[in-house]
């Protein structure tokens, strides 16, 4: 397997894994408190809509000329990647609360308990919460799979990476019947952010008509350079946050 294919698989697997953990927390909270039937219908409906989005956008994305595709996709991956990196760095530095699956599960479960049950066998609340949770978390993965996959000319491999992550998260989540709080979400977010940003830069520049020195090898430098830069930024901001907190305490 080539380095590009490995990176494609890693990026979609990790991105889907992170989003699947977040969606699982919401579905578990609503399913365990209000019953599974309507929640699972919500999950199935969200998957169906996501499949329609892939079916509609997939052929359209792959039909775009490569230079335009690389420019647009490069820009989108850069924007997504920088968003992931921003969150990961701020959380790593202690400037933003870590994504706490246990707390989110407790909050969602409390909200589900407080909402009065509706008459009839279909629970609209459980359906809506589960649908929204899966659809919103899944949409970003769909975009990453389509854009990354189309640019590498291998949407199937990208989808396979994402699907594998979703299956693993669901199997582990169902077995545990609890949110997967021990998954190092922030570290995974950082890795995905580095990959999306590096590939976004690489393809964005190529799509804009410029060329990287060394061709494809430049990607390795971009991944390494981005990783070092964000780790350094996290360390600097963490030190700054600690010193600011101690100054306030004094």
């Amino acid at each position: 397997m080539s380095n590009g294919a490995l990176a494609l698989l890693a990026a979609t697997f990790l991105a889907a894994g992170v989003e699947a953990v977040e969606a699982l927390t919401i579905v578990l909270a609503v399913g365990l408190t209000r019953g599974w039937r309507s929640a699972l219908i919500g999950v199935a409906a969200a998957f169906a809509v996501l499949v329609v989005v892939v079916a509609a956008l997939g052929p359209a994305v792959t039909a775009i000329p490569l230079s335009v595709l690389r420019l647009v996709v490069g820009a989108l991956l850069l924007i997504f990647g920088l968003q992931w990196l921003r969150k990961a760095v701020l959380r790593g530095a202690g400037l933003k609360a870590l994504h706490d699956e246990t707390a989110i599960f407790a909050r969602e479960a409390a909200a589900a308990r407080e909402t009065p049950p509706l008459d009839g066998s279909f629970d609209g609340y459980a359906f809506t919460v589960a649908f929204k949770g899966v659809f919103l978390e899944g949409l970003e993965v769909v975009f990453i799979v389509l854009t990354f996959g189309a640019n590498q000319g291998n949407v199937r491999l990208a989808a396979l990476g994402a699907l594998a992550a979703v299956v693993i998260v669901v199997v582990v989540g169902v077995a545990a019947r609890a949110p997967l709080a021990r998954v190092p979400e922030n570290t995974l977010k950082l890795v995905v952010g580095v990959l999306l940003t590096s590939y976004g830069m690489f393809w964005g520049v190529e799509g804009a008509g410029a060329h990287w020195p060394g061709g494809d090898v430049a990607l390795l430098g971009l991944v390494a350079g981005t990783a070092v830069a964000v780790l350094a930024a996290t360390a600097v901001l963490r030190r700054w946050a600690t010193s600011a907190t101690s100054a306030v305490a004094r």
Binding site: L71, G74, A75, L76, L78, I79, L82, Q83, L85, R86, K87, V89, L90, A93, L95, K96, L139, E140, T197, G200, M201, G204, V205, G207, A208, G209, A210, H211, W212, P213, A218, L222, G225, T226, A229, V230, A233, L237, W240, A241, A244, T245, V248
Partner: protein
């Protein structure tokens, strides 16, 4: 109309996210790369530079906002 507006707000939030200046930074960076390449310059280095500036300033703004919020709470 309300649904259309909601869809627009969702699309904006989905693509642009927490800090619209980052999306603008990406667009400006790639536009400069395209301009440089069009005029025959080796413009690839503008991308890492633009990304570093875009992310760096966004992180700095977030850190300052956090600091102001902490000060206000005290």
């Amino acid at each position: 109309m309300r649904q259309l507006r909601a869809l627009g707000a969702f699309a904006y939030d989905f693509v642009v996210g927490d800090d619209w200046r980052m999306a603008l930074g990406v667009v400006v960076t790639l536009a400069l790369v395209a301009l440089g390449a069009h005029h025959g310059f080796a413009a690839w280095w503008l991308a890492p530079l633009g990304v570093a500036v875009t992310l760096g300033t966004s992180l700095l703004r977030a850190a300052r906002a956090h600091s102001r919020a902490t000060d206000a709470a005290d």
